[in-house]
Symmetry: C2
Subunit: 194 residues, 2 copies
């Protein structure tokens, strides 16, 4: 009776948790987190309206799980970066490939504050960013390495956010956003004037 079941069904539904997560990501990417309805997700998965609660407790739990997953993915992406500029490019790429995760990750009022899984995966991502910053030679960053990280994060985060909100459609035009960001990043980190 189910629509898209992954052939095997170890439990009643198959993998309801994943099914609901995926459906939620679709909805959020299309219409934002506020358009999310647990009952609608249950309907899409072909289960009863209260089934999602067993996997995520409540709405906040679902969104927290999404955010945690997002930070894990982001940490993985940044961890493989060659240098800081590459890390920024990967940050922007992550936001474009996982817009729903990205939105939820930075909407703290939608998340469960003390959640362990969220805290650890966020720490992982922060560490990855710190690692990329510390790889920059001292003459490339300013006097304060901490602020160099803030600058890089701000630039990448702002660009990604504005991009997803279609605020840069005119300025970026047909160009590849990642290439545009490379230009921005090279404006930020270049040797100080003689």
């Amino acid at each position: 009776m189910s629509t898209t079941r992954p052939t095997k069904s170890p439990y009643h539904h198959g993998d309801l948790r994943r099914a609901i997560l995926t459906a939620a990501l679709d909805v959020i990417a299309a219409d934002g987190p506020s358009a999310l309805s647990l009952r609608d997700l249950a309907r899409r998965a072909g289960v009863s309206h209260a089934a999602p609660a067993h996997h995520f407790k409540d709405r906040t739990g679902l969104l927290t799980a999404i955010a945690a997953e997002g930070f894990g993915l982001l940490a993985g992406a940044i961890g493989e970066a060659a240098d800081l500029k590459d890390a920024g490019v990967r940050y922007v790429r992550f936001a474009r490939e996982h817009p729903a995760h990205f939105q939820v990750m930075f909407a703290p009022e939608l998340l469960r504050d003390g959640d362990l899984e969220l805290t650890t995966s966020r720490a992982l991502a922060t560490d990855a960013l710190r690692g990329a910053v510390s790889a920059v030679p001292p003459e490339g960053r300013g006097p304060d390495a901490r602020l160099a990280g803030v600058a890089a994060w701000s630039l990448a985060h702002g660009f990604a956010t504005l991009l997803l909100g279609h605020n840069l459609d005119g300025a970026v035009g047909e160009r590849d956003p990642e290439e545009v960001f490379r230009v921005l990043a090279s404006m930020l980190f270049r040797p100080a004037p003689a």
Copy 2:
């Protein structure tokens, strides 16, 4: 019977529209737009549950009005900027002083697309930003003036967003965020190496 009425009462309530806007800004600043309830706002203003609808039509209308007001305020702030760095500082200051406006302004899925008031006030803000960019001497910005504007906007927007989300508490610490941003801005726009 009303709690805080501005002495005069030109209509039934006084100024219900403003009262609801103000209450909405309080709620959003505290718990985000998703915590907003029209019925709750009506309760706070001491009116019936359907009263807000007459001023804003629906939830989207209320949020659209807030966004339009925000872009108007932002345009005014940036319009008075001395140079691009100052415009960035004012952008960050605006976000800190009007966090609710700022959040809503950049949540397009919560807004009425074609709204006239929103479109015009947003255009005003965009023009103000463009003006600040064009005031930068050519050697300070890169080859493409358009991209210089994108870089400045991205840096300011990212910094403001991360700041409001308490993602920079550790890095900024006790320092004045505006001063921190000045440092970031001077990293972005400095003469090209010889």
